[in-house]
Structure formats: C-alpha cells, structure tokens
C-alpha cells in the first residue's frame, strides 16, 4: 500500500502531473507516511530520474519544468511537516543572474531542480549587484550560483568573486556558474569552483562540491 502510493507520487512527478500531485501526496500522508519518507522514497528519486532523462535528451525543458512544478507543489505541502519533525534542508543556495543581464528562464529551472534536490534556494532575480550575493552568503548561503546569457555580461561574474573576497567570505562558499556563453574553461579562468551545462547537472555539481554522495539514499542532511 505504502510502496504503491510512493510509486504513484514518483510517476506523477516524472510525468509532470502538476494537477494530480497534490492529491497523491495528501493520500500518502493520510496513509500515515511521513514527510521524510515521501521525500526520500518518492520525490528525490523522481527528480533524479527526470535529470537523467534530460541529460539523455529523452525529455526537454518544458517537461523538466512540469516535473519541477510538481515537485514544488509537493514541497509546499510537506514543508510545514519538515519544520515540525526537525528535518533540515540540505544546504542553502543563493542564485542570481549577474548585473546587466535580464535572462532568467535557465536560472529559474536550476532553482526548481535544486529545491527538488532538497536544497533551500534564495533566488535574487536578475541584474543582481555583487553586494547582494555577499549579503546572502553572510546570511548563511554555502553555494552561490551565477547565471549569464550574453558574452557581454558574463564578464560581470568576476566582480562577484572579488566582492566575496573583499568581504572575507570567499572561503566559506562554493561558487558555480552557468549560462550559454560560459564553460568549464571560463570557470577555471575566473576562479569559480564549478560549471554546469544544465539545471540537472547543477544539482549533481552542488552535491559534489559539498562533499555529498550523488546517490539519493546516501544524502546526509546538513543545516
């Protein structure tokens, strides 16, 4: 009964059934399943599968967004219960599109996937001044994600790194970058800690940088 309900939830997320997922999660809770169980047993494995399918080019952005939306809907229902049972999010991530750049679809997708991966995400939006990233780190973020979509704005990424250094907090965080014009070589050049080509791999990168196992079952929870 329990396993079946978890499977239903898993399917719903993978297929992006945003209108059905709420009922499915509620049904699981009514059966007595815990929020933690639902997260670990259905939601996280589902998002891992979505990520795998995206990387294999079996699904594309619209499908990934639908799944991420289903995930968000579930998390909304479960969050109050996490707080009650003392379940902490994996880690705090701050995301933003750099100064001068208004693109956000990719960044938003990364945010959804990271949430789906159990991270707590603070999204600063677009055209973000470096100082705001520094504030977020001072507020506890351990990963900074920078996005830029133009070759003329990616040059604003080093300014964020310098601001973090100037504030004395660079050592505290991992900085990852993404966006069409950037790549691993650019990440190395500017001293970022990593680069991910898409939202799915951003989750794996974030976990790896925090020394976490990439397999869902081995997920340690940190504050």
């Amino acid at each position: 009964m329990d396993a079946k309900q978890l499977e239903i939830i898993r399917e719903s997320v993978i297929l992006g059934r945003v209108s059905e997922i709420g009922q499915a999660v509620q049904a699981a809770l009514d059966l007595g399943l815990g929020a933690e169980e639902i997260l670990q047993g259905a939601l996280l494995p589902a998002m891992d599968e979505v990520g795998r399918r995206f990387e294999c080019e079996q699904i594309f952005v619209p499908e990934m967004m639908a799944s991420a939306k289903a995930m968000q809907t579930s998390l909304k229902l479960l969050r109050p219960l996490f707080a009650q049972s003392g379940v902490e999010p994996v880690a705090k991530v701050v995301l933003g599109t750099v100064q001068g750049d208004m693109h956000d679809i990719g960044k938003n997708l990364v945010g959804l996937m990271l949430e789906g991966g159990g991270f707590q995400v603070q999204d600063l939006g677009t055209n973000v001044h470096p100082g705001r990233f520094v504030q977020a780190v001072q507020g506890g973020a351990v990963i900074v994600g920078l996005s830029a979509l133009l070759t003329t704005t990616m040059t604003n990424m080093p300014a964020v790194l310098r601001a973090l250094e100037a504030a004395g907090v660079r050592e505290r965080v991992k900085v990852i970058i993404g966006g069409a014009p950037v790549n691993q070589a650019y990440a190395d050049e500017i001293g970022a800690d990593g680069y991910a080509p898409d939202a799915s791999r951003a989750v794996g990168l974030a976990r790896a940088l925090l020394g976490m196992s990439s397999a869902v079952t081995g997920l340690p929870l940190q504050g």
Partner: protein
C-alpha cells in the same frame, strides 16, 4: 520525369494532375504570365501550371513529381480562370485560401489566359535570390518620382549581408543593385559578439568601423560600374541597419547595448556629410540615417514598416523579420507595438550537427511520405548540409509523419531512426551516403530538434506577447509580412505547422523579401516617407520581452511541436 535536383529514395511518377483531366478537344492556346518574375509562356490548356512554369523558365519547386502531395508548388491566381480545385488542393488549402486564388501548380490547368503570382518559397533558389532585392511588393507603392535630380544611394547595412541600390532620383527607378557579405563577420558572427569585441580589444571599435566603411565603398564601386554612373552624380544617400550596425558605423559607444537595459547611445534621425561616415562622395551630398526604435530594433525595421505600409494600415497586421534576432511589429487600431526576440543562430545553421548557411548543397526542402524522405538542395548540388529553412521543413514533416511527438521526442520504432553517437539520444537520416564521390550522409539529431524548438518558440512567444499587449487574439491578425532573406526561403506552411507562425490561412502571409531595402529607397525620393519616420518612432510602443511576465510561460508553451 521528376526534377533531377531532387534526391529520391524511391520512384516517383510523372505529373499526374493533368492525366485525369477530361479530354479538352482542340482548344486555343493560352498565355500564362508569372509574376513577379515577368516571364510567360503560351501553352496548351491541357498542361498543368507547373508545366507552364517550366515552359516559361520559372523554376517552381516540386518534390513529389507533381502528384499534389508535397505542397511545394503553391501559386496564386491573380487574373483568369483555372480548373476547379482537385482533391489534393482541397486538402491543402482552406476555403478562404481557395477563394483568394491559391492553387497547386501541379494540379491546376488553365481555362483562359492567366496571370499567376509565385511566392518566393515556391521558387528555386537562384530566382528567389534575384527577387530578394527587386521584389516589388504586390500592391506596394513603387518608388515615387522625386523633385531632385541626380542619383541616390540606398544601403541596408545588415549584420550578415549588405544590400545596396543606386536610384535615379528623378524617375525613381533603381538603376543597379549589389550585395556583399558584411566583412565585420570576422570580428563576430552576431551583434553581441561584435559588441564584445569592442569591449575586449583597444582598437576593436575602429576595426569594426573601418570594415563597415570598406564594405560601403566596395558596394558603391560595384553599383556605379553596373549603372555606368559616376560617384559625383550621387547627391543623396540613405543607410539603414539595426542599432548595433548603426552605432558601429558612426563610432558611437556600444558597450551599453550589451547589457540591460540595452539603450542606444543616440536614436534620432541624422543627416550627415559623407565624410562623417567615411564615404567618398561629393562633399555636398547628404547622408540620411533614419531613427532607431530600440536597442535591438533599428532603422532597418523602420524602413520595413514604411515599405510594407504597416505603419499606416487600418488592419490588424504584423511584420516579422526573422534572423538570429527576430524583430516583430504588430499594428492594431492605430497602435504599433514592437519587440525583439533572441531566436538564436539555429535558423542560420549554427549549433546544428549538419547545419550550414543557405548556399549550394544546403537542403532547403524536405518531404516525407510513407517512410520515404525526399530532399531538395539549393542549386541542385549534392547535399552538403541543411540550412534553416530545410530544418523547419524537416521537423514539420517529421512531426506530420508521427516520427516526432508534440514534445519533440522521437518514436524509437520510426524507420530511419537510429541511436545517437555515444548512446545519447537519436539520429534521423535525411540523406543516405552513396558510392558517389563527395556523397555525404546528412542526419538530424535529437539536439537539432531541440535547437529548432527553442528558436521557433522565441519567435511565436514574442508575437503572442505583442498580441496580448494589443488586446487581440492571434486569429484576428489579417496579414503577416515575413521579411528578410530567411523569410523568403521559409516554407510558410511548415512554419505554421511547427507553431513558429500563428495558424492563419496561407493567404494572410506575404513574403516581402528585403523590404528594408525598398524602404530605404523610398526614403530617398519620398517626402511622405521622411515625415513618416518620425511618426513611426513617436507611435511605436516597444515591449521588452525579457521583463515581460507573460514571455517565459508563452516561450515554454510555444516549444511544443
């Protein structure tokens, strides 16, 4: 016999349309005129319009051997009578299209002398190119007889290509046309990379400015030679281009164009001496640069609106200039709304496994029926790759054949589909390699389909946002002018099937070629046009898609096939 330019993977029959016609007896021959190419033929009324086109030296594209399946040979009846629509034509065209005279050339036969209009997308490449600069828009005002004497120079300074025209200012006649690739391309294919070049290299701005000036000088030489004219006869010039091209030519700052809010340094109309542009003309000659509309919508767009008449239309109508950047204007109730969409370089063949620019050997038409793929390449050369319009056709056909679903995922059992390199995704074979030397296998990959989905979604979503801002439903749009070289190559029907363009009747779409070039010429001789420039800028409402809340959801939705 099927045209030798088509690569067949099965046998096709000859033009079947006429074979089933009842015997006509001895009927007098008829004259069939083809516009806008100005060619004609006197033919037996028994033969199809497709055969009549061949007799007239008009190259209509036909992939299916004239059986009415591939829908490539569309023509519009302007004057005269033709046979009633066949079953194939009824399944191709809506009632309103048929009422407007749209026919398949392979199916219809003449019943009187005829005048037919062949849209650019039905024409073979070389004839299409010729039209690009010369296209008199059906029903558009021709160049006006001016008050001035002497010659005028009009230039459309495009990101990839320049188009130049030499005009007799008194008669309004175009004496010569010339085209050239933009030499700035070596500093960056697209506008953003050229702006980045200026930022990175201390001499970057000067290099780009000099490249532009050099190109103008070369075109000027070519035009004067072709017309047998002297530079000293040129008293007036109009140069149009997108905002970045305009700024690079004038040496204006461009770095702010590379970041939000993408503001032009100076957008007003300018009248300069040739020296200020670096052009060698008589010092008394005037160079007019029309105003710009926004950071990514330039004076070329203004010129296009003039030439198409969109600026003063009473209809609800749209004009779309498709490229790496697509600019759209929607006119409704006297309002003009514009936006710029980053459609990306996939439509120019970039980031596509076997993608290439339109040129000899580029697959530009694709037709799939019962598991067989037929392609048509530019100039009939052996297939070397696929260009943007070919990609649009291919994906539309793959979707129609059920090889792709609405999400763009492929049915793994489809014939011609195989596993991709490194086990990632899949590949679909368009052209199989043969033993002929120089023969290449051409495939489409899952990633190629995705790239096209992104490009076409940006364009459609841009139009949808404008429609929403204007308070109209897409169905209410009465006319869509598709401008630019790509627009002339594009198979409109495939673009509609893909959802790149809204699902309106075929007759509502016009392919207007280089309307910006025509507009630039009109600005030389027409006082009305000069006044209109200012009015356009005043009335224009620019919609910034990047910050519009409806764009992202519309974009994601529009990715569906």
């Amino acid at each position: 016999m099927p045209s030798p330019r088509v690569t067949w993977q099965s046998i096709a029959g000859e033009s079947k349309g006429a074979a089933n016609r009842p015997h006509m007896g001895e009927m007098p021959k008829v004259r069939v005129d083809f516009e806008p190419l100005d060619r004609w033929a006197v033919v037996e009324p028994r033969i199809t319009l497709l055969d009549a086109a061949r007799a007239a030296g008009v190259g209509l594209v036909s992939l299916c051997g004239g059986v009415g399946s591939c829908e490539s040979c569309e023509v519009q009846l302007v004057q005269g009578h033709v046979s009633p629509p066949s079953a194939a034509e009824r399944s191709t065209f809506s009632e309103s299209d048929l009422a407007q005279g749209w026919r398949l050339a392979c199916q219809a036969t003449p019943m009187s002398d005829l005048r037919l209009w062949a849209p650019p997308s039905s024409l073979e490449h070389s004839q299409r190119l010729q039209l690009e600069s010369d296209l008199p828009l059906a029903g558009s005002p021709s160049l006006i007889r001016g008050q001035k004497t002497g010659l005028g120079l009009a230039v459309d300074l495009g990101t990839s290509k320049l188009a130049g025209y030499l005009v007799d200012l008194e008669s309004g006649e175009t004496l010569a046309t010339a085209g050239a690739m933009n030499p700035q391309a070596r500093f960056g294919e697209d506008v953003i990379s050229r702006i980045a070049h200026v930022g990175r290299q201390p001499n970057g701005a000067r290099e780009l400015r000099e490249a532009a000036t050099l190109a103008l000088e070369d075109i000027l030489d070519e035009l004067c030679t072709a017309a047998g004219a002297e530079r000293s006869q040129i008293v007036e010039a109009v140069i149009v281009g997108n905002t970045a091209m305009h700024h690079l030519l004038l040496g204006l700052p461009v770095s702010q164009l590379g970041a939000a809010p993408f503001m032009p340094a100076a957008a007003q109309a300018m009248d300069l001496s040739p020296e200020q542009i670096g052009l060698r003309l008589e010092p008394g000659a005037r160079v007019h640069l029309p105003p710009l509309l926004a950071g990514f919508v330039g004076s070329d767009h203004v010129a296009m609106l003039l030439a198409t008449g969109l600026w003063k239309t009473k209809q609800t109508a749209a004009a779309i200039d498709i490229g790496t950047n697509t600019e759209i204007t929607l006119a409704h109730g006297g309002r003009l709304l514009s936006c710029s969409c980053a459609s990306g370089p996939a439509l120019e063949g970039a980031h596509i496994r076997h993608g290439m620019r339109a040129g000899p050997g580029a697959i530009e038409r694709v037709w799939i029926e019962r598991g067989v793929v037929a392609v048509h390449t530019i100039a009939g050369a052996p297939a070397a790759g696929i260009c943007g319009s070919g990609l649009v056709d291919a994906v539309a056909e793959m979707r129609a054949a059920g090889i792709l679903d609405a999400r763009g995922a492929a049915d793994p059992r489809a014939p011609g589909l195989r596993s991709g390199k490194d086990g990632h995704g899949w590949e679909f074979v368009l052209v199989a390699a043969t033993d002929d030397p120089g023969s290449r296998e051409i495939v489409l990959t899952a990633s190629d389909i995705r790239q096209l989905q992104l490009a076409k979604a940006a364009i459609r979503a841009g139009l949808q946002v404008l429609a929403q801002e204007a308070g109209v439903q897409e169905e209410m749009i009465e006319q869509v002018d598709v401008a630019g070289a790509f627009g002339s190559y594009l198979n409109i029907r495939s673009a509609v099937r893909l959802g790149m363009l809204p699902p309106l009747a075929r007759g509502r779409f016009r392919q207007v070629g280089n309307a910006a070039g025509l507009g630039a010429r009109q600005l030389l001789t027409g006082a009305e046009q000069r006044a209109a420039e200012e009015e356009i800028v005043r009335r224009m409402q620019y919609v910034e898609l990047a910050t519009h809340p409806e764009f992202a959801p519309a974009f994601v939705q529009a990715m569906q096939l």
